[in-house]
């Protein structure tokens, strides 16, 4: 055991993109390790990002493992560390340790339709697996995305979503009516009920605020999705990422190790502590 589990590796921010402006800004960061690294992740895993002097924050890796040139993170400005990240510029250096957690069992889904359902920043954890499925399109059935945010300004990956429209069904939504926006008006679970995706030979992945996840799952069940067909990710506050600091548990599970990816069949057996 020579590795120090708390020691981050240095990485340079090579690209920053402002995804969402306003009072709840989101930026996407692409990073490259300064020294060659054996860091290799699976879709659904996270990494602990460090800003020296500020601390650490656990962030989902939003790039696909197929992308070898950089690691991508999409981050909502919410507190100390995420604010410091938002103040950084291209060329600045951060620390990264990980990857942590389990991953989406995408190999098991070959031949199946995949329905992605996201709300707000919740598209970030899905984005990695979506990109992998898209790159290996021939392996999967129909791919579709239902995604919503408060306003059209709050959608992340706006340009990428426009491009994706040529490749898969994309159903966007906003919470309240907006001039010049013709997308569905209402919450994500309502959009799911409205679009009536078929459960046949399908897997659904849903990420977003806890309350959205709860109602999306109900909407999916209503449509006939079985618990084993529904996947989601859990975000509990994290510090160590390796099951030692004792903070992120739901029941006997440490989300940093045993999660963050769960099928509803599994998650529903755990206490409601997320």
């Amino acid at each position: 055991m020579n590795e120090n589990i708390y020691l981050p590796k240095l990485a340079k921010i090579i690209k920053i993109k402002q995804e969402v402006s306003g009072s709840r800004p989101i930026k996407t960061f692409r990073t490259q390790f300064l020294e060659s690294s054996d860091f290799s992740h699976r879709s659904g895993q996270c990494a602990m990002l460090s800003v020296l002097g500020k601390g650490e924050a656990m962030i989902s890796i939003s790039s696909s493992p197929l992308e070898k040139d950089y690691l991508q993170f999409s981050i909502l400005k919410s507190g100390r560390v995420t604010t410091a990240l938002h103040e950084m510029e291209e060329g600045d250096i951060i620390g990264i340790r990980g990857p942590y957690g389990n991953h989406f069992p995408i190999e098991k889904w070959k031949g199946k339709n995949i329905l992605f359902i996201g709300g707000g920043i919740g598209l970030a954890p899905i984005w990695s697996v979506l990109q992998t499925a898209r790159a290996k399109k021939a392996d999967y059935g129909k791919l579709a995305l239902i995604y919503g945010a408060r306003t059209s300004n709050d959608w992340v990956f706006k340009e990428e979503l426009q491009e994706l429209k040529n490749e898969m069904d994309i159903h966007l939504s906003i919470d309240c009516e907006e001039e010049g926006c013709n997308e569905f008006v209402g919450f994500v679970p309502q959009n799911v009920a409205d679009k009536k995706p078929s459960p046949k030979n399908s897997i659904s992945i849903t990420c977003g605020p806890p309350i959205m996840i709860k109602f999306v799952i109900e909407a999916l069940q209503e449509l006939g999705f079985k618990d084993e067909q529904i996947y989601t990710t859990v975000e509990n506050k994290m510090k160590c990422g390796i099951g030692k600091c004792g903070r992120c548990n739901i029941g006997k599970h440490y989300v940093c190790k045993d999660g963050p990816v769960y099928s509803w069949a599994e998650l529903k057996t755990l206490p409601q502590e997320y």
């Binding site: 600091c245 004792g246 502590e273």
Partner: protein
């Protein structure tokens, strides 16, 4: 190795441990604490119980894990701040506190292992002391598979027999420590062996408090997550966190950065004990908190110790030291809580 050491000769043994940092119970302002001992004559094993367990020597309340600095132009530098390589020995370890170390071992040893904890643990010799009289009226070690003379987690166990100690080592680390002063130790007589057995037997009988049928309680807890029981039991809790702060088995911690100078940036990443009894422990920056009230936090403390830890590590995460009972300002008593679980409808 089993030997006899007179109390008079005890300081001579310690004087021979020149290459060790010696820790032991020290009385400060009427309270006992494990401290570094400079003068061997000051080491007094005639103590009740220490406020904190010797866990604090292996897993300090605050510990620097990384040093960093970042000059304006140039890349940041991060160095690991591993504990110094020293040889430590702790005298007067209570058997329950030693067993507690075997539980924190499980957490920090599990892959990927925690270098900081493991280095301190491996370079520390634990010398236990049989509790001939229970050091606290709330001791209940015997309910949890331990005893006042349990040897788990110890390298050596000393048992007081009037003016002498019966010294028994079980590990290489322990034997090495005794060899450092082999001439002060004598072979035990048959009578000493008989006396030892007697003291050990008596010591168990003196433990007054107990939890009965713990495995039944563990089973019952599995179905009690959503029970109103936790509201009832936590009603008086002040959320002070003392129960977890004093616990020899609690291992939860926080990691944060401390800035020593801002330009050029210089600082330390530190880990500090943290507690599930504080709201910020689980609160997201959005304000959402999966454990928003004292009821859910008392539930976490009990379930972690008597359900989740049992599932994950096949052991209770409690060794019955009684500290959380004695020191809770509102008398929340873990034994009573567990007993009530058993009868809860």
């Amino acid at each position: 190795m089993e030997k006899i050491l007179t109390k008079k000769e005890f300081p001579s043994w310690i004087k021979n441990l020149k290459s060790f940092n010696v820790y032991g119970p020290v009385k400060k302002d009427a309270l006992w604490e494990y401290e570094r001992i400079q003068d061997p004559d000051k080491l007094d094993l005639n103590f009740k119980n220490t406020v904190l367990s010797p866990k604090k020597i292996i897993f300090p309340q605050r510990e620097v894990i990384l040093d960093f600095n970042h000059k304006k132009k140039g890349k940041p530098e991060i160095q690991e701040a591993l504990p110094e390589e020293t040889k430590n020995v702790i005298f007067g370890v209570r058997p329950c506190d030693a067993r507690a170390l075997t539980l924190t071992d499980k957490v920090f040893e599990e892959e990927p292992g925690d270098k900081y904890y493991l280095r301190r643990r491996h370079q520390t010799v634990t010398v236990g002391l049989t509790c001939s009289d229970p050091p606290s009226e709330n001791c209940f070690c015997t309910s949890l598979g331990g005893s006042p003379h349990s040897t788990e987690g110890l390298d050596i166990l000393m048992t007081e027999l009037n003016h002498k100690y019966y010294v028994h080592s079980f590990t290489d680390k322990g034997r090495e420590l005794m060899k450092a002063a082999s001439d002060v130790f004598k072979n035990p007589s048959e009578k000493d062996k008989k006396d030892l057995k007697q003291v050990h037997k008596e010591s168990e009988k003196k433990i007054k408090r107990q939890v009965k049928e713990l495995s039944k309680i563990t089973d019952k807890l599995k179905g009690m997550f959503d029970s109103p029981f936790w509201d009832e039991e936590s009603m008086s809790c002040l959320k002070c966190g003392i129960c977890t702060y004093l616990c020899p088995t609690c291992h939860c911690f926080d990691i944060s950065d401390e800035v020593l100078s801002s330009s050029p940036l210089k600082g330390q990443r530190v880990r500090t004990w943290d507690t599930c009894q504080f709201p910020y422990f689980t609160m997201h920056s959005s304000g959402h908190n999966p454990r928003p009230d004292k009821s859910s936090r008392l539930r976490q403390r009990i379930l972690h110790k008597f359900s989740y830890f049992v599932d994950n590590y096949d052991d209770y995460q409690c060794t019955g030291c009684g500290r959380c009972i004695s020191k809770c300002p509102v008398d929340i008593d873990i034994i009573e809580v567990l007993e009530k679980v058993k009868d809860y409808e």
